[in-house]
């Protein structure tokens, strides 16, 4: 096992511990915990069972299953970025709506 793989496992375990602590503090829901737990556990599994997961590489047409996961992750990240943009846009619209309502309520008439 190379240094990178060891670092990935350490980082994923650290992230998993953080997620558990966040759940304990009730900062995240069970649903969010489940999502992130699966992600970090899957990452550890991918590194440890790389050879056994060779079929993933064959399925996707990319040699290395790790590369397949990286490519899929990049696609997912772009999608999440797009969704975040939409959410931010909605929040901005709400801030504007409230700002405008307050301005009209507090008008200084001539």
């Amino acid at each position: 096992m190379g240094i990178i793989e060891i670092l990935i496992i350490i980082f994923a375990c650290f992230a998993l511990i953080k997620v558990v602590l966040k759940l304990k503090d009730k900062a995240i829901s069970w649903r969010e915990f489940g999502f992130w737990a699966v992600i970090w556990t899957a990452l550890v599994a991918l590194v440890l069972l790389r050879k056994r997961l060779g079929f993933l590489g064959e399925l996707s047409g990319v040699d290395d299953p790790f590369k397949t996961v990286v490519i899929l992750s990049i696609i997912l990240l772009f999608y999440l970025m797009f969704r975040t943009f939409i959410k931010i846009d909605k929040v901005e619209q709400e801030i504007t709506r409230l700002t405008r309502e307050i301005a009209i309520k507090k008008v200084r008439k001539k």
Binding site: D89, T99, A103, I104, K110
Partner: protein
């Protein structure tokens, strides 16, 4: 029946010009002036307070589009028949408002859009290049061919003001208004207006970078909806 005309001015950091602009409008006989201070960092609001106008203030800066929407909504509440949007930086000539509102008064159109390229404006080269880009972009996305797509000098009938929804907060609103005119098949014409370019107004104008930013935001919004 006399039409109730409201002038809507969105202002941000215009302490140097705002009193002059307001007085210029009053000199032309326009009494119903609505100023929206978009949370200016200077004394725009304090200086405008001394003039007898309808004065609104955004508690946080939201952009020209948001400010105009605030002003237009307030004007409609005040039973405006015609709403004129007017810049706060002294670039517009209040004497040309008559030219803008005449076609609406005659019920020929619902919206008149000012065009500096039909009028006698000395447009700086870079600005001309950016604006012509805006014309092309508007034609592609809205299907409307105009000579000037980013001119803040425009007049709306009450019906058009009620019909047009401004959702973009910042400078993209200008393209959005045109998009709405196209989608809702609102009758419009372009009218020649003069834009006075001073060193002050040139500094405050849109940079090339911001123009690209506007296009990117418009494309992203179109994809998201």
């Amino acid at each position: 029946m006399k039409n109730k005309i409201f002038i809507v001015i969105a202002a941000y950091n215009e302490e140097n010009q705002i009193v002059k602009v307001i007085k210029g409008l009053k000199k032309e006989g326009y009494k119903d002036i609505i100023l929206i201070d978009d949370c200016s960092l200077d004394k725009t609001y304090e200086k405008a307070k001394k003039e007898k106008i309808h004065l609104l203030k955004h508690e946080v800066n939201r952009g020209q589009g948001a400010s105009l929407k605030t002003g237009i909504d307030y004007a409609l509440q005040q039973n405006a028949d015609i709403i004129v949007t007017f810049d706060a930086d002294g670039q517009h000539n209040p004497g040309e408002i008559k030219r803008l509102i005449e076609p609406i008064k005659k019920k020929n159109v619902e919206v008149t859009l000012g065009s500096r390229f039909l009028g006698k404006s000395n447009v700086p080269f870079i600005k001309r290049f950016i604006l012509k880009g805006g014309v092309f972009f508007t034609w592609i996305f809205s299907g409307i061919k105009l000579t000037d797509t980013h001119n803040g000098f425009r007049a709306l009938s009450r019906k058009a003001a009620q019909n047009i929804e401004i959702k973009h907060d910042r400078m993209e609103h200008a393209s959005e208004i045109i998009d709405q005119i196209a989608k809702k098949k609102i009758k419009y014409i372009e009218v020649p207006v003069t834009i006075k370019y001073s060193e002050y107004s040139k500094k405050k104008g849109q940079s090339v970078f911001n123009s690209i930013n506007i296009v990117v935001k418009l494309i992203l919004r179109k994809l998201a909806r």
